[in-house]
Symmetry: C2
Subunit: 442 residues, 2 copies
């Protein structure tokens, strides 16, 4: 017994995280299986799929959240979203503390890595800040959403819709209590602004928000914050232009709207792939070129230490900057007068290659087991891996094998990069030094 | 005039290469436009497409080689294949020599890089060896092919078919004088063995063949040769197993053959994507999972300094090894007791990211301009970029814009990696040393 307890306490943080994560998913699934959770009984695999999708803040759904689940079931989902989105990492810290162990230097370091914090500082203070910040932002959003939804559907229903969508949006979960996601509000400015602000703030990463709070001047910010802020704005503007132009005349999406409507709908679809997952138009109706572009956005995802998924914007930028530097005959990638070390580039490369590998295996199995066009399969897989939640419509018709593959893909997409963050915490030196030799490439 | 001549001579090797390459393509196009070349007149864009496809040894065709072109036209195509396949690089050396300039140390170095030769040695001797070797292999193959085709179609026709397919296969061009490529010989062991041996030898790279010739023992070989030999065998066996299993019951491809037939057909389709381009079954009828797997093989391609295309097997392996090393907490990728330097990994990364970029742009434009499923478009684009020549059937129905995009993609696929080889020849040091700063990834 003592042995078991020791074993439990001495689990490495990534294993501990995975254990907590999986435990909460199983618990969530069991809760969703209760008769009180659903309007009619659902299979275990569907409950497991929903719990995984909520806990990994993905938002892919095999049964309709609004009709298949009761209010109780929906609240279970919302709780899973909040737990998953705020980062099981944070909770791992709290549980470590609850177990009576004062946080030591070594644990601090590990958790610092887990939270992807680079500047030193009290972890406990950070966790508190993080909770206060999240709940504050969600509360403010609820107030704004209520101004729209309470008059429309009565106070109780309006308040509930506001709370659910605020939590879902801030945590980049993409769950909605409505079958057509937010399509009913495609040209509603309040909903468009509040929801997108929520998932952009949630998805940029806490460290960036805190950095901005402390340092008002751009040049005082950390390199990470600078890249994230400029990168997010640039990518969002570029994406908006692409979607707006490509879908301008598509009657299946934004073609029939007024210019103001087109602008809003294009903006929403441009910012949602990284990795909010709400949609205001039918994704399956979009142009192939738009969908291909969105594939790339979904794979990239949001910011580190955020509620977003994907390989992260900084990872993608590190790789692109290294490539540009190489073609410009520079020995190092340089950005904002700072050099990006080889080690950083290799880390970004490894994460990307690992991600491509997981996505490829999943696509391969789905191609074999599902009867769907390649783009639909690829879109679904990258959406699951990036914990985005957008779908061209495959989720509803997945076979059992398909559901299992997507469940694993969501888990790998959420836990992979987090546990990956630990990998470079303990840099062991090579024991044997081999001489280097060049090989031909290209 | 003297100025112009100087300018011409002083062109950097990559620019000189591109100039020669484009000149030969234009010349080839004009020759193919002659009435003597075709059975009925073809448009300039189709002639340009054919010449580019031949010169880049891709093998994608907009008009049927066997019926649209006369014997003269086919011989023009064969000459373009031989010129392109042996590498315009070699010819650039010869032209430098013909211009009366003795090859100096600096040029030697540049050409050494161009040919991707890492071990020092006389370039001129190498070029001669390369020509003798290529012609010898092609000649031996012609003899073998004749034993099959001369009895079948008469001496002249049989000899011609043997020469055309020998040149096309050794140069990894994938052109055939028959509309269904080599489908007529899907279960013919002689054709299967001779043709695949030709393109595997042509595609592994001259340096590897010469290394093998000089050093009989495996441990004496260069790291590059070791990786290429073991890698080629491993990838081919793995690919064979995948294709064999996936297509086993597919009546559209190998499902209706006997086991011996299935084995041969699966083997051929497994080795052709890197980057021979011949096919013995209908590619469009293959399973999505097989096609997805072939996409990856086509993107990887063959060996450096070979007649093959793609990012090259060593590039892909360098990236994979770096990723594995990272996940194993090693500071460096190690293979056969040799360390792969960061610079090498970054070079491989840059080439891969550049390739993904080119393919993405092409897919994006084709998605917008062609009315075809995403997988068909993606397959066609990667086939063009890897200069493979396999098609799910899109090539024949490309619009003018589509043809132009594929022409540029083939050029980028062939000239990109070659000119890229020069990029790391002149490593200029960074002028300003910036301090490094970490950013968060993953
Ligand atoms: K999501
Ligand atoms: K080819």
């Amino acid at each position: 017994m003592t042995n078991m307890k020791n074993k439990f306490i001495n689990l490495s943080p990534p294993r501990f995280l995975i254990l907590v994560f999986l435990t909460l998913i199983i618990l969530g699934s069991l809760l969703l299986m209760l008769p009180i959770s659903t309007t009619e009984s659902i299979s275990f695999i569907d409950a497991l799929f929903t719990a995984t999708s909520a806990m990994t803040v993905t938002g892919l759904i095999v049964v309709d959240t609004g009709t298949a689940y009761s209010l109780f079931g929906q609240i279970v989902i919302m709780c899973l979203i909040q737990l998953g989105g705020l980062g099981i990492m944070t909770f791992a810290v709290l549980i470590y503390m609850a177990l009576g162990r004062k946080i030591g230097i070594k644990e601090r370091l590990l958790i610092k890595q887990a939270l992807n914090q680079t500047s030193l500082g009290g972890i406990i203070r950070l966790v508190k800040k993080l909770l206060v910040f999240s709940l504050t932002v969600e509360f403010i959003a609820v107030v704004f959403l209520c101004t729209k939804w309470c008059p429309e559907m009565g106070f109780t229903d309006g308040l509930y819709a506001s709370i659910f969508h605020s939590v879902s949006a801030f945590n980049n979960a993409g769950f909605s209590i409505w079958s057509d996601s937010l399509s009913g509000y495609v040209i509603d400015p309040v909903i468009n602004i509040v929801i997108t602000l929520l998932f952009i703030i949630g998805g940029v990463g806490f460290t960036v928000v805190f950095d901005l709070w402390k340092n008002k001047e751009f040049h005082q910010l950390s390199l990470h914050s600078k890249i994230m802020i400029v990168g997010t704005i640039a990518v969002n503007i570029f994406s908006f232009l692409i979607i707006f132009i490509l879908e301008y005349n598509n009657p299946g999406t934004i073609g029939d709207f007024s210019t103001a409507g087109k602008l809003q709908a294009a903006y929403f679809q441009a910012v949602t792939p990284r990795t909010a997952g709400f949609n205001t138009v039918d994704i399956g109706q979009m142009e192939d070129a738009s969908l291909f572009f969105m594939l790339i956005l979904m794979f990239i995802g949001g910011g580190s230490a955020s509620t977003a998924g994907g390989i992260k914007l900084t990872t993608a930028l590190a790789i692109v900057l290294a490539t540009i530097a190489f073609f410009k005959d520079r020995n190092h990638a340089v950005v904002y007068r700072r050099r990006l070390d080889y080690q950083l580039i290799i880390r970004a490369l490894a994460l990307t290659v690992g991600s491509v590998f997981v996505v490829s295996i999943a696509v391969f199995i789905l191609d074999l087991s599902q009867n769907a066009p390649f783009l639909t399969v690829l879109f679904e897989t990258i959406s699951a891996f990036g914990t985005v939640g957008l779908s061209m419509g495959l989720t509803g018709s997945l076979t059992i094998i398909g559901k299992i593959v997507i469940i694993f893909t969501m888990l790998a997409g959420k836990l992979g990069p987090l546990t990956f963050a630990f990998a470079f915490a303990k840099q062991t030196p090579d024991i044997i030094k081999y001489p280097s030799e060049d090989i031909l490439t290209g």
